[in-house]
Subunit: 160 residues, 2 copies
DNA sequence: CGTCCTCCCATTGACGCCCATAAATTCCCA
DNA sequence: TGGGAATTTATGGGCGTCAATGGGAGGACG
């Protein structure tokens, strides 16, 4: 498996450490960054995270812009400037800096959410409501799509 | 990691010294310049800084312009003329000359902002507002990128 | 002779490395 | 196939090292 899947909720200990789900660590190990690249999501109260693949993608975005252009500096500021490389200790734990926790409203527990090539870190309660909204949106969307295809199937394919 | 990432705010002591973030020192050490190349940003109240890689890049920019052209002289003046090589002492600290601090409005604290291949020095308060603007610009920019690039693998990193 | 700068040392707090425990899971073997 | 052992995972805590910061001693230069 080379993708981040499923969700896990782990506890932050008194030192601020959290275990990274084992399956996520396996994926990270394969793409050669000893650490987790992590930054605040631009439009959600959550943190985006990933490994070397994610870094490469961001590099690609920035390098496509002209050197010394405003655009490039802004993009680099918003992405690199707000990012952290979270090192994974030998027990598979990371420390999420205060600045990042604050953006996501994280206090005692963190929910790790696999999104395929990257994953997100959420405050558990917030993720619950976010998930509910996302599912509702999918249902609405499918109604529109489905209206043209078939009469009325139950909510089947797009679930979970 | 061979890139400048994340932001750090450090204090200037009574002798005018500031610690360079350890992770930035690591990156600098790898690219072989004894010190930090530093000059006022062209379009922001901040200082641009980096190592040998940045110097090479700037050389490349200047050399691309016609010799003895006005453009070339202006660019060379604006960049080289206002630059300084800041030496790093054995405790990892630099002294930022008055002229440079003035351009950035720096007084007691300096915020180091990683931008990948280079980094910037900001007055902390100013950087806060600058970051907010940058994030907004990126959100707008992403809409454009996302709309146009859908098929090619997509700007995943900047989404969400 | 005083100012500025370089080198060196001290302190404090954060972080990394190590070990311990408990629960859950996998594996093995009768 | 059932049960027990070994492994893995999540979590807790001790301790040494390093980074950030402050301050002093010595030297160069006006």
């Amino acid at each position: 498996m080379d993708q981040f899947v499923s969700t896990f909720t782990n506890k932050i200990d008194t030192k601020g450490r959290v275990s990274v789900p084992a399956s996520f660590r396996t994926v990270l190990a394969k793409d050669g960054l000893e650490g987790i690249y992590c930054y605040p999501s631009l439009d959600a109260p959550a943190l985006d995270a990933g490994g070397q693949r994610l870094v490469d993608k961001i590099n690609g975005l920035v390098e496509d812009l002209a050197p010394y252009s405003d655009e490039r500096d802004h993009l680099a500021t918003a992405l690199f400037g707000t990012s952290e490389i979270l090192s994974i200790d030998q027990d598979g734990r990371i420390i999420v800096p205060e600045r990042l926790r604050e953006h996501a409203g994280i206090t005692t527990h963190i929910t790790f959410v696999g999104l395929g090539e990257k994953f997100q870190l959420w405050e558990p309660k917030r993720f619950e409501t976010h998930l509910a909204e996302a599912r509702q949106k999918v249902r609405d969307l499918r109604k529109l799509l489905g209206a043209g295809r078939r009469g009325s199937g139950g909510p089947e394919g797009a679930r979970e």
